[in-house]
């Protein structure tokens, strides 16, 4: 009797189905709900010509050499209390091998308020550094030559003001604006969608963003004018697909606004950058980064007709997911962050921030900040993953997942277009509702234990010893208040007053506001004074909240 040799795949299928599976709950989908198969094979590889790094559509990376030419920038976000304290922490991190600075501002600064405003009470210095005027900015970068480093500033509504302060500090150091390198977050659309640090209504906010992009294209050409962000959208509870789709849709809205202003695509698109989350579902994140590059390249070329290669190459910064960290057994956060950082590196990020283990409870201590930095150095110098370009390219699973994420993102683009675009969709609360629904669904999964979070809903430990956390000295608040009052007292009042009047007039008109803000900053107008001048013209936005 002749026995037919079994086809290898059929054989596997039979053996697999006959085998036992673990009973501790194998996930059948990614954390975002994308269904997973037990095994991916050549049949899952999409039929397309082989892709190479540095070639359109850049799925395998934007550089032909991957990290072999240059490692990702290790850019740890930090800032707290006063400019002097933060200056000290920056020097510590630079000495320990950090390669770029990243500034975290406190809530009053983020919201455009001076430290002595009544609503700033109790909020000063807790989640970042307090910057009220150029004087604080000078202290922040004291002894740090702005030619030698690049700086990322995480601020949105008042972003133009902080950029002008940075330019003014550089001026004082003798560094021309044309030599300055760095990034401004400046992504107001995601504020309306997720982080809610908006001040002005959407149209006025967009004007300020376009003003800054237009200004930098001429005067600060090495500056990344905007960091179009998915991180906050993800942290607010969205899925990976929503993060991908909403971020890229925001990007396109900014491109549309700049084109409407009369700029040419290749004049500004090369300096747009992105900022994504690196969450704990390892492979989904890698697929997300690769899909992002491919989608952006296609849209830039096919829809916007960009010709310059640099316009097509999506560059991004990544931060490991804050929401994946636990207050329980916090040392585990070091491991979580390492896994997430690895995903970012295998996804080809241009720069990376790794969270410290104690960040669920407070700003990081020196020690935990150092461990976070060392985690990146471990990946770069010990693990070997940076030596081969796009090592996961060709993986049946990763390629299939990349395609699926791209497909689902395109579906969202269509829905947003049907609503009339990003801003109408914001006003219709479309994004906010999607995010709130995903957040609630995820929480229910945790409560039902269909998703595990170690230390929180499984593998718990009773009676954990408290860990040392960073405390902001409450005395610093009154010192900062005194400082801003001193600045107001000592400045050239006439120059300041004229500058603000000039700004007001320009805001009513259609001039690019950057030069006016720069003059006000040089005259030591405070951030709050500049914001209030603009509020007089633009008004304050109130959102139509959905739960």
């Amino acid at each position: 009797m002749k026995v037919r040799a079994r086809d290898a795949k059929e054989a596997w299928k039979e053996d697999f189905e006959a085998s036992l599976e673990r009973d501790d709950g194998i996930e059948t989908s990614t954390i975002s709900g994308i269904p997973l198969k037990p095994l991916y094979t050549t049949e899952d590889l999409p039929p397309r010509p082989e892709e190479f790094p540095g070639q359109f559509p850049y799925t395998r990376g934007i550089h032909p050499g991957g990290y072999r030419g240059r490692l990702w920038t290790m850019r740890q976000f930090s800032g707290f209390a006063t400019a002097e304290e933060t200056n000290r922490r920056y020097k510590y991190l630079l000495a320990n091998g950090q390669t770029g600075l990243s500034v975290a501002f406190d809530m009053p600064t983020l919201m455009g308020q001076d430290s002595d405003a009544p609503t700033s009470r109790g909020e000063i210095g807790h989640c970042g550094v307090a910057i009220d005027s150029l004087a604080d900015m000078e202290a922040l970068f004291d002894g740090i030559p702005l030619t030698d480093i690049t700086t990322s500033m995480t601020i949105n509504s008042p972003a133009a003001i902080l950029l002008c302060m940075y330019i003014a500090v550089a001026e004082e150091q003798g560094v021309p604006a044309s030599r300055l390198g760095g990034t401004l977050q400046n992504d107001i659309l995601k504020e309306f969608i997720a982080q809610k640090e908006f001040i002005f209504p959407p149209a006025a906010s967009m004007r300020l963003v376009v003003d800054s992009i237009e200004y930098c294209a001429k005067e600060v050409p090495q500056w990344n004018t905007i960091s179009i962000s998915g991180y906050h959208i993800r942290e607010a509870g969205s899925t990976a697909v929503q993060e991908l789709a909403f971020t890229l849709a925001d990007g396109m809205a900014y491109v549309d606004a700049c084109l409407e202003r009369g700029m040419r695509i290749d004049d500004f698109a090369p300096r747009l950058s992105f900022f994504f989350d690196a969450h704990i579902d390892f492979f989904e994140e890698i697929a997300k980064f690769r899909a992002a590059r491919r989608i952006w390249a296609r849209w830039m070329r096919e829809r916007y007709g960009a010709q310059d290669e640099r316009s097509l190459k999506l560059r991004f910064h990544t931060q490991t997911a804050g929401v994946s960290l636990t207050a329980q057994q916090p040392e585990l956060n070091i491991a979580r962050t390492a896994i997430e950082a690895l995903a970012a590196v295998l996804g080809g990020t241009q720069s990376l921030h790794t969270n410290a283990m104690d960040e669920v409870l407070a700003l990081p201590t020196d020690k935990s900040a150092r461990i976070a930095l060392r985690t990146q150095q471990l990946l770069a110098f010990e693990s070997g993953v940076a030596n081969t370009i796009d090592p996961l390219g060709g993986s049946y699973f990763v390629e299939a997942l990349t395609d699926e994420m791209e497909r689902q993102a395109e579906t969202y683009f269509k829905r947003i277009a049907d609503l009339g675009g990003v801003i109408p969709a914001i006003e219709a609360s479309f994004f906010q509702k999607e995010i709130a629904d995903s957040a609630f669904r995820y929480q229910q999964e945790l409560e039902q234990k269909s998703r595990i979070m170690i230390g929180v809903n499984d593998f718990k430990v009773d009676d954990e010893p408290p860990i040392e956390i960073l405390r902001i000295d409450p005395k610093l608040e009154s010192e900062q208040v005194a400082r801003v009052r001193e600045v107001r007292r000592k400045r050239d009042q006439a120059r300041c007053s004229n500058a603000l009047t000039g700004l007001h007039k320009a805001a009513v008109g259609t001039d690019n506001l950057m030069p006016y803000i720069l003059e006000a900053v040089r005259a030591y107008a405070t951030e709050g004074e500049i914001m209030n001048t603009l509020i007089e013209v633009f008004g304050i936005y109130t959102e139509q909240a959905v739960v």
């Binding site: 006003e427 109130t542 139509q544 909240a545 739960v547």
Partner: protein
């Protein structure tokens, strides 16, 4: 009304006590029509004209859990801390005597505290719009252009209760079509003496709000000059008396069944609810052990504004 009661205190801190009956305007319509934004605009207008205004906004409770997210207040944030604006969110269920009884008593109380205007706002779910129409002097029905299946799908009865029709979000496509369809539907069923105007608003931009209030005042004038206003007010008082009687009776029966196990047992054995009810109501001395609705001393605002 207890002096130490928080809600009452809040009202006391606001206004004069003159006891004049406030004007009552009801707003109703499907979810998503922008009612709250429109009401917010009307409040702003009234405040500009120095009237004091109270808003009673109702949202549906889940029929299963009883819970609700009462989402109207958040649409009126600009009036926060204005002592001449009082906003109360209510769940549609769980009021002794039903929503309209609770609302009527709240209106009386708000009038006693001197509010010039009371605005009722409900989502057009269940029977809530009929309850609003029964209580309000003027009922405004709010619609929008994106009604999906068209005006024909509007719930039966909702057009009949409208004294004023508003098509909000007038800046959207399809607005003109909705207005035309409404006009033809209304011509088929004319109300006695008053022709409900169809108004266009863009509540988000405060457009059309003045015109809306002019229409409300015109309707009030009509009620007064035609005598219809007085007639309706008398009818309302009688209706309220009947509802109060029903609630008292309901309460007595419920308590009797709890207090008298023998009675309850007989009910279960015989299965004759009507006979049992008559027996309870006809028997003297079987007073309910709790005070009638509206007078619970420990509840806020008289116990009914919950």
């Amino acid at each position: 009304m207890e002096g130490r009661d928080p809600a009452v205190r809040s009202l006391e801190q606001s206004l004069r006590k003159e006891g004049r009956a406030p004007g009552v305007v009801g707003f109703t319509g499907a979810p998503g029509t922008g009612k709250s934004t429109l009401v917010d605009g009307v409040v702003a207008l009234l405040r500009k004209r120095e009237s004091s205004v109270a808003v009673l906004a109702t949202d549906p409770n889940s029929p299963f859990t009883g819970g609700a997210i009462l989402g109207d207040r958040i649409r009126m944030q600009r009036h926060a801390l204005d002592p001449k604006v009082f906003i109360r969110s209510m769940g549609a269920r769980g009021h002794l005597g039903g929503l309209s009884l609770a609302t009527r008593q709240a209106i009386r109380l708000l009038g006693a505290f001197g509010f010039d205007e009371v605005i009722l706002e409900t989502v057009g779910v269940g029977q809530s719009e009929l309850e609003v129409a029964a209580v309000a002097d003027t009922t405004v029905v709010v619609l929008t252009p994106n009604l999906g299946d068209g005006v024909q799908m509007i719930k039966a009865g909702i057009l009949e209760i409208a004294d004023i029709l508003v098509v909000n979000k007038a800046d959207l496509d399809g607005h003109a079509r909705v207005v035309t369809e409404l006009r033809s539907m209304l011509s088929l069923a004319p109300k006695s003496g008053w022709k409900p105007p169809i108004l266009a608003t863009v509540a988000a931009k405060q457009e059309g709000v003045e015109g809306l209030w002019e229409a409300v005042l015109a309707h009030r004038h009509h009620l007064e000059s035609s005598g219809q206003g007085r007639h309706l007010a008398e009818q309302r008082l009688k209706d309220e008396t009947a509802e109060a009687a029903a609630e008292i009776a309901r309460d007595r029966v419920r308590h009797a069944l709890v207090d008298d196990p023998a009675l309850a047992a007989r009910l279960l054995a015989e299965g004759a609810p009507y006979r049992t009810a008559e027996e309870i109501l006809n028997s003297p001395g079987k007073l309910s052990s709790s005070p009638p609705p509206g007078l619970r001393p420990t509840s806020p605002a008289g116990g009914e504004v919950n």
